[in-house]
């Protein structure tokens, strides 16, 4: 029998440490597929964030580095400037990119660094126990917003992709989701496109935001979490191409 769906080469064959229903596994696979389809494994360097995906190098079989919280775009800058022939990507969560790393991502985009950023937005700090993130939606209960996030005092959810899209140095910004197979396919297309832009020497930063479930800290079943992305998250974080 001819297999119709197999593991892609750059995704390692190993048990996962991610929780049931977590979106990181899907996002990892999409990146691995894009790398394999573009045949760039031998010239790609990945940057893992601080957060649950710090161990991304356990799954993605490319040269990888682990960096301080939020600093990936600066590290990527150092790599790309000294290795313009390499394909550099960072993989960052919303705590990493939208809280502690806002300075680094804004200035990397501002300078038009030729790097690719995969931004996983699950609306909480996952690894530290589900605290409020800048992207936490209003009313969302987290470990540090027990009454639900209130706009006064805790602020509105931060729409980083919209912020970045206004910068001339950001040439491609798209928000995707992994809440159903159709969206997963769109996310794959976006991620591949972002890599392609870099591969073709496009003059600027490409970023794909991926809305991703965290059932454990959303206190939901995996299925409910997928539904919540569609019903609640996409209201605050509308899907689609913001730029490019």
């Amino acid at each position: 029998m001819k297999p119709v769906f197999t593991r892609t080469a750059t995704l390692k064959d190993c048990p996962t440490h991610y929780c049931a229903g977590c979106g990181h596994g899907i996002a990892h696979r999409l990146i691995a597929e894009a790398i394999d389809e573009l045949d760039i494994r031998g010239r790609t360097i990945g940057i893992a964030p601080v957060g649950c995906a710090v161990l991304a190098y356990n799954y993605l079989d490319v040269d990888m580095i682990e960096v301080a919280h939020g600093r990936a775009p600066a590290v990527a800058t150092g790599m790309k400037r000294t290795n313009p022939d390499k394909i550099i990507f960072s993989y960052q969560g919303d705590g990493d990119l939208a809280a502690i790393g806002t300075g680094e991502i804004i200035h990397a985009a501002h300078r038009g660094e030729q790097i690719t950023v995969i931004f996983i937005n699950n609306a909480v700090f996952g690894m530290t126990g589900g605290q409020m993130a800048p992207t936490t939606v209003l009313g969302q209960v987290t470990a540090t917003t027990p009454q639900g996030r209130k706009p006064v005092g805790e602020g509105y959810p931060l729409q980083v992709s919209e912020l970045l899209a206004i910068l001339p140095g950001a040439i491609y910004v798209e928000r995707c989701s992994v809440h159903n197979p159709a969206q997963v396919r769109k996310a794959k297309k976006a991620i591949k496109h972002a890599f392609e832009l870099q591969l073709n020497g496009a003059q600027g930063l490409s970023l794909v935001e991926v809305l991703s479930p965290c059932p454990v800290y959303w206190r939901m079943t995996p299925v409910k979490a997928m539904e919540w992305i569609k019903k609640e998250m996409t209201k605050v974080f509308p899907l689609g191409r913001l730029k490019g």
Binding site: I47, Y57, D63, M64, I65, R71, A74, M79, T82, N83
Partner: protein, 348 residues
């Protein structure tokens, strides 16, 4: 050429591939110089958005096997400590120049030696060391740059060049020596794209039972090698001296002049000048420690290196201190006066 420009050129001669920095006084001549010279050489210059970003750009470039450095002054170096700790954990080579100014806080822009503790104790979080040079002339500043890059690559460590506002701004005649380099190990750990090989991972996270403990022992073994092999120290008339003045950096220049004048007045005094502040010349100080002697440490701070002198002297020799913090510079007259005031313990 001022010290800042001279060290920049020395770094370029030493094979610097990429320079990242953020403006701060009194070291701005470095980035101005680099912004002109690095592109001329076809190499990378980038003004970062912060010192945090600068050290992380260094982190990234270093991870791909490039020779890279950043420079700053005290408050900026504080911001870089996170990155320096990660460099230590990930065992990446880097050179960091600190043209020290007065602190704490924003302090002032006058020369200082107030960052000795920060430089020689690691500076960031965790159990680690950095190699620290304390040059006392522009020539020595220039000479230590190629060595700094070699040591960084050899031991996969951060090397800190601890200068100060005087050295950075001062002009002195210099010679750029192109001495033969050390034989260095290949950077087979570098991230170059896993073409035809297994993936390389650069990391500082070590989970699992005792895994980080073992990693720390490995780092410690490396630091012990550095302590054994890389100490640099200069001394003058110590054997016949009743008073030994210890100083580093530009403070040692004032000490040298004061000691010469004291000797003209018949006082039996010599000096020791640590060139590497870590590894510290503990053995040399310890050898000189003698119950019939007095150590006088002179610093442009309220007393930091003096603690290392006390540790090395181990109670055998009284250790006194004279220093001026916050941009104060101990003058030759002041040092001479302190030397003259010392009472020497009973003769042998």
């Amino acid at each position: 050429m001022c010290g800042n420009e001279a060290l920049a050129e020395a770094a370029i001669i030493a094979g610097l591939d990429a320079y990242f920095g953020y403006p701060i006084t009194p070291q701005n001549e470095i980035s101005a110089y680099m912004s002109k010279r690095m592109p001329e050489e076809g190499r990378v210059f980038l003004q970062s958005e912060s010192e945090l970003a600068a050290i992380n750009m260094v982190f990234g470039a270093s991870a791909t096997g490039k020779r890279t450095m950043t420079t700053s002054s005290s408050p900026g170096i504080s911001l870089m400590q996170e990155g320096i700790s990660y460099l230590a954990g990930a065992e990446l080579p880097a050179v960091v120049v600190n043209v020290m100014r007065g602190g704490p806080g924003l302090g002032n822009i006058a020369p200082s030696q107030g960052d000795y503790f920060q430089a020689t104790r690691g500076g960031g979080h965790g159990d680690y060391r950095t190699i620290v040079f304390g040059p006392s002339s522009v020539q020595e500043l220039v000479d230590c740059m190629p060595l700094a890059f070699d040591l960084a690559d050899q031991y996969r460590m951060t090397v800190v060049v601890l200068a100060d506002g005087i050295l950075g701004q001062m002009m002195e005649p210099i010679v750029f020596e192109r001495k033969p380099r050390r034989k260095l190990p290949p950077k087979d750990w570098a991230l170059t794209g896993a073409k035809g090989r297994e993936q390389n991972i650069v990391r500082s996270l070590w989970l699992g039972d005792r895994v980080l403990e073992e990693h720390n022992y490995k780092l410690q073994a490396k630091y012990e090698q550095v302590q054994k092999n890389e100490v640099l120290c200069e001394q003058y008339e110590v054997e016949t001296a009743e008073i030994v003045v210890v100083a580093y950096g530009v403070a040692a220049r004032m000490v040298r002049a004061a000691v010469d004048r004291a000797r003209e007045q018949g006082i039996k005094v010599g000096w020791i000048r640590p060139i590497t502040l870590w590894p510290f010349p503990t053995e040399q100080i310890s050898k000189a420690a003698d119950e019939f002697r007095i150590f006088l440490t002179v610093e442009m701070s309220n007393g930091q290196m003096v603690e290392d002198i006390k540790l090395a002297a181990a109670g055998k020799t009284p250790v006194l201190f004279f220093g001026r913090p916050g941009g104060g510079i101990p003058s030759v007259d002041e040092i001479l006066e302190r030397i003259r005031q010392l009472t020497i313990p009973a003769k042998r």
